[in-house]
Symmetry: C2
Subunit: 143 residues, 2 copies
DNA sequence: TAGGATGGTTAACTTAGTTAACTATTAAGG
DNA sequence: CCTTAATAGTTAACTAAGTTAACCATCCTA
């Protein structure tokens, strides 16, 4: 197995896979949301509730996060809550509206995705899942 | 196998995989190049030599491609050659400098990638390759 | 208690994308 | 032929998302 070949395949495939995903996220006709915003909502829900932690997990600068937060606050999808313990930090909380949008977008994306899977056999699905887990293992090694 | 689970895994893993790739492309310290530019150089070399064909394969609007081409021409990495047969079309050709940069960046990215693989066994590499092929098959179905 | 570290924001800028409108050219039907 | 439609590319005007540098407020620590 040629490692160089492998890396070239990776370089070839990932942008396509990512583009497909983005098109799913943005395919929601009623509630439009960008992919970065979707990711932020998602991460906040799974416990990342400060600008710094978001910046770290998404691997983006803090000002970038701060600006997207501005826009999400503007849209009433999240609220900024200054911390009592440490007055430098601002806790980010998803609003009911934000939760609703997030769920809707996730559902639509998931449906689109599933549509694309509908003629796959169980065995193929299993292979697909294993593939994703393999990629996941790769991106998570050596942090 | 739960299809919804599968889609959620996909949504989780792909952004990470993509971010890793981008960091490799931009890791070249001497010759810095953005990922979209890298992709365009890559596609031109594999035969896509008009704005339209690039826009289609990269799934981006033609004006977007046209503008990046402007910048690549400015940097002397590619040249625009008006076609003789059809005077509407402009053929894009990579310059020696462009080829050099592309190769250098690809080499660096590939090295970084390979570094990350170095403790993988042959069998694991094979699984990885199969995984990428699986993803590839998925993104290429139903066009 | 002074000095450095941390958390967040603002400012100024760049890149990459969008749609709409335009020019030039080619293809096609009556 | 000649008008009309389609195609290739660019320009214009705009937006989103990213960068670095600089700044303020707060907290920690020697």
């Amino acid at each position: 197995m040629n490692k160089k070949e492998l890396s070239e395949k990776y370089i070839e495939v990932m942008p396509l896979a990512m583009r497909m995903l983005k098109s799913y996220i943005r395919a929601e006709s009623e509630v439009e949301i960008s992919f970065p915003k979707y990711r932020i909502l998602s991460e906040i829900q799974s416990g990342m509730h400060t600008v710094s932690s978001l910046a770290e997990v998404i691997c983006v600068s803090r000002p970038a996060i701060s600006k997207i937060i501005d826009s999400l606050v503007e849209e009433n999808y999240i609220v900024r809550l200054p911390s009592k313990e440490d007055r430098r930090v601002v806790h980010l909380k998803i609003s009911p509206a934000g939760k609703k949008v997030f769920k809707k977008v996730r559902k639509t994306a998931s449906q689109k995705f599933v549509e694309n899977l509908d003629d796959m056999k169980a065995s193929e699905l299993k292979v697909f899942m294993k593939s994703l887990e393999c990629i996941e293992k790769f991106v998570n090694r050596k942090r």
